[in-house]
């Protein structure tokens, strides 16, 4: 093995690939070779570091310097200055959005410092294509431990004691799920990893699959041992090609090292894995639909019970865990359930990864202890809301969840508190909204998603969500009428109670929760034909304030549809019939004379 004095980590997650990390990586290798330091400095492509907004990012070790938004043309300077001369290139450093201070060191940046990384312990740290790097960080030691020191019952007990709950949606006890599957009668059982991540904006599972695939393989093998299964399937969507490729390579490496296959560690335990690629239907994240899809059928849910733990894949007892859940398993085994229980709250143990998006300075993935408040996540970890705007609401749980308001900023983020507020943890989507966001429009957005993703099998979800969406469309167009809110509520209650699967049962949540906290916005749309946030285009009116207008005529010149008219040096007017509400006049007015309401 060669000695390197420095290692440069290039984030190679799908998000950074989109922002051009491959070109940066090539430039880096080129410049390092040119500087003649290729035997001193090693370039390592890692998985997602989490700061997707800031990509492409580089971390230079041993000092852990974090460079953000690196362009290929910046690379020359980094190599010459930092790698050759040891001088940090401060213009590429991260600047704290609140204090405006630059922070060179990765671990000192509040975004990272505020996190507790268990599930994401390796992503962004190791090179996912090198199994040795996973092993160096105690990879497969947990598997070794359970196979040589623990009985399956002890493994299940340990997971149960840890208090780990499913990270994919409902938060069912993982230990209990394992126990039920272990106890179900049947010689043949399966372990399935649900990697059909579908919530818009959530990508923690992708990040783990891409950046730390071996942790999932190891966890599935442990689960296989615990429940008595020798075959696992990873159901991952085709839209995650890098995750599929990294996972496939990891499986092959694990087989080469006999960490998958027959007689693992010489203990007689056999376990192997296959990847099944799904077409990315949201509903296939529902476990019975996922099973149908793996079996080769249309991905549609079936009524439960029977639960997959008794009758799953091909009718056999099947354990289905989500990616993030599985990623927690090896650390629990190695460090013990007691260690894990110390993280989090009484009923929600451990950490949760949130995919923070929307009106927030640092978007990306953050892993924080359960029970951290929304305020801490938004302001301490994620750098607050851009443009000095006010926080209005946060959507948790994606399209199946609901919203939290400013009143809830200090509520601990954990399974039960979220449910009691009419939302849910879901898979950890966290969308931050500021004062410019219309809550009716947000509800409409999520419902549009779920009604489109409905499998169409059961009546309430297929037709009911469509009818709700039609009402919401009308309201946001200014065509709402008295009785619409009541109709929405009646439909929502019915869909929740009578749909076949979790997709339908949770689809009305965004509407119910925005009705609960922002009913007055609905009423303003319906009764006053007004969008209080000024977001619903059909309800916006642009008007020139005569006392401010100096008659310069810029507005009339930029208007694409000749809706503005007037005489120079006297106030102009907007013809609201012609106006297409593009907002260009308001943007261009030098005197801020154009109001939007």
């Amino acid at each position: 093995m060669a000695f390197y004095r420095a290692q440069v980590l290039v984030c190679g997650g799908a998000g950074c690939i989109s922002s051009g990390c491959k070109a940066v990586q090539q430039a880096l290798i080129h410049e390092i070779n040119k500087a003649g330091i290729d035997e001193e400095v090693k370039v390592i492509e890692t998985g997602c570091i989490g700061t997707c907004e800031l990509g492409p990012v580089l971390v230079v070790y041993p000092d852990g310097t974090f460079y953000q938004k690196v362009k290929p043309e910046d690379v020359h300077t980094i190599v010459e200055e930092h790698l050759v001369k040891g001088r940090i290139v401060s213009r590429l450093l991260y600047k704290d959005p609140l204090t405006e201070k630059t922070i060179p060191e990765y671990t000192k940046i509040s975004f990272f410092a505020g996190q507790t990384r268990v599930a994401l312990r390796n992503t962004g740290v190791i090179d996912p294509s090198v199994i040795e790097e996973y092993i160096a960080r105690d990879g497969y030691a947990a598997l070794g431990k359970v196979l040589t020191e623990m009985s399956p019952e002890q493994v299940i007990d340990e997971i149960s004691r840890s208090g780990l709950r499913g990270r994919g949606g409902a938060g069912f006890s993982t230990g209990l799920k394992w126990r039920l599957t272990a106890q179900a009668p049947g010689d043949e059982k399966y372990v399935v990893c649900n990697a059909d991540e579908g919530d818009p904006g959530a990508f923690m599972d992708r990040s783990i699959l891409e950046g730390d695939p071996h942790s999932i393989i190891e966890a599935m093998a442990i689960a296989g041992y615990a429940i008595g299964s020798s075959q696992g399937y990873i159901y991952v969507r085709a839209e995650y090609p890098l995750a599929v490729a990294n996972m496939q390579r990891a499986i092959e490496q694990a087989r080469q090292y006999n960490l998958l296959g027959k007689d693992i560690f010489g203990t007689g335990f056999d376990f192997d894995l296959e990847i099944r690629v799904g077409a990315g239907a949201f509903v296939c994240g529902e476990e019975t639909a996922l099973i149908a899809s793996i079996e080769g059928n249309r991905g549609e849910p079936r009524p439960k019970p029977p639960y997959p733990s008794n009758s799953g894949l091909w009718g056999k007892p099947t354990l289905i865990n989500n990616v993030e859940t599985l990623a927690n398993i090896p650390p629990i085994i190695l460090q013990g359930s007691e260690w894990f229980r110390q993280i989090g709250t009484e009923k929600s143990k451990g950490t949760k990864v949130f995919a923070v998006a929307g009106k927030i300075n640092n978007t990306g993935l953050v892993e924080v202890p359960m029970g951290m408040t929304l305020r801490e996540i938004i302001y301490d970890v994620c750098g607050g809301i851009p443009g000095g705007k006010q926080f209005k609401a946060a959507q948790t749980g994606g399209p199946s969840g609901g919203c939290l308001t400013a009143d809830h900023l200090d509520v601990p983020m954990e399974y039960d508190s979220l449910v009691s507020l009419g939302s849910m943890m879901g898979s950890g989507g966290l969308i931050i909204m500021d004062e410019d966001t219309c809550m009716v429009d947000i509800a409409r957005f999520f419902l549009d998603f779920t009604q489109d993703e409905s499998c169409g099998k059961c009546t309430p979800c297929r037709i009911g969500t469509k009818r709700m969406l039609e009402i919401l469309n009308r309201i946001t167009r200014g065509e709402g009428k008295e009785g619409d809110i009541e109709a929405l509520e009646a439909l929502a209650e019915n869909i929740k109670k009578s749909s076949l699967c979790g997709l339908g049962q949770s689809a009305p949540n965004p509407v119910l929760s925005t009705l609960r906290y922002f009913r007055s916005e609905y009423e303003a749309h319906i009764r006053e034909k007004r969008c209080p946030a000024g977001a619903c285009q059909a309800l916006i009116v642009y008007a020139i304030q005569p006392d401010r207008c100096r008659g310069c005529g810029v507005c009339a010149r930029v208007c694409p549809v000749e809706a503005v008219s007037g005489q120079p040096r006297s106030p102009y007017e907007i013809n609201s019939e012609k106006c297409i509400k593009c907002g260009l006049c308001r943007e261009k007015c030098p005197f801020d004379a154009i109001a939007k309401h």
């Binding site: 093995m1 060669a2 000695f3 390197y4 004095r5 420095a6 290692q7 980590l9 035997e39 001193e40 070790y61 041993p62 000092d63 852990g64 050759v84 001369k85 040891g86 001088r87 740290v125 190791i126 040795e132 790097e133 092993i135 160096a136 960080r137 105690d138 990879g139 497969y140 030691a141 070794g144 040589t148 090292y257 006999n258 960490l259 560690f265 010489g266």
Partner: protein, 119 residues
């Protein structure tokens, strides 16, 4: 891989590769790589340090650079910081001195006093 022992062996050797990223208590060697340092031959010093560390399998030693320290005529300057101990700065470290410093100071903990200009 046949046993847990095999895994442990592999882990221990693989850890060296990860050491730079893990941080923690380790010996640090800091080489002055300002313009003056490079002019005085700091690049050769750096190369010698790395070769010697590799020869001795000292993968957990962290090697970094620093800029001009103000003693331009004493370059190349090399700091050795053992965990929990103050920094020791050596002056005019060429390749030969660098190897000696590693053998004596880093491996055996004996400071080579005659080359030290500051501690």
């Amino acid at each position: 891989m046949k046993s847990l022992e095999d895994l442990k062996k592999l882990r221990d050797s693989a850890r060296q590769m990860m050491h730079l990223r893990e941080g923690g208590d380790s010996v640090r060697i800091v080489i002055g790589m300002g313009t003056c340092g490079i002019a005085a031959g700091a690049r050769e010093t750096l190369a010698a340090v790395m070769q010697e560390l590799e020869r001795l399998h000292l993968y957990d030693v962290v090697v970094t650079q620093t800029g001009c320290a103000g003693f331009c005529d004493k370059e190349p300057l090399v700091d050795v910081i053992l965990p929990g101990q103050p920094r020791v700065t050596y002056a005019k470290v060429d390749g030969e001195r660098a190897r000696r410093i590693i053998d004596e100071h880093v491996v055996n903990g004996r400071v080579i006093e005659q080359w030290v200009i500051e501690r």
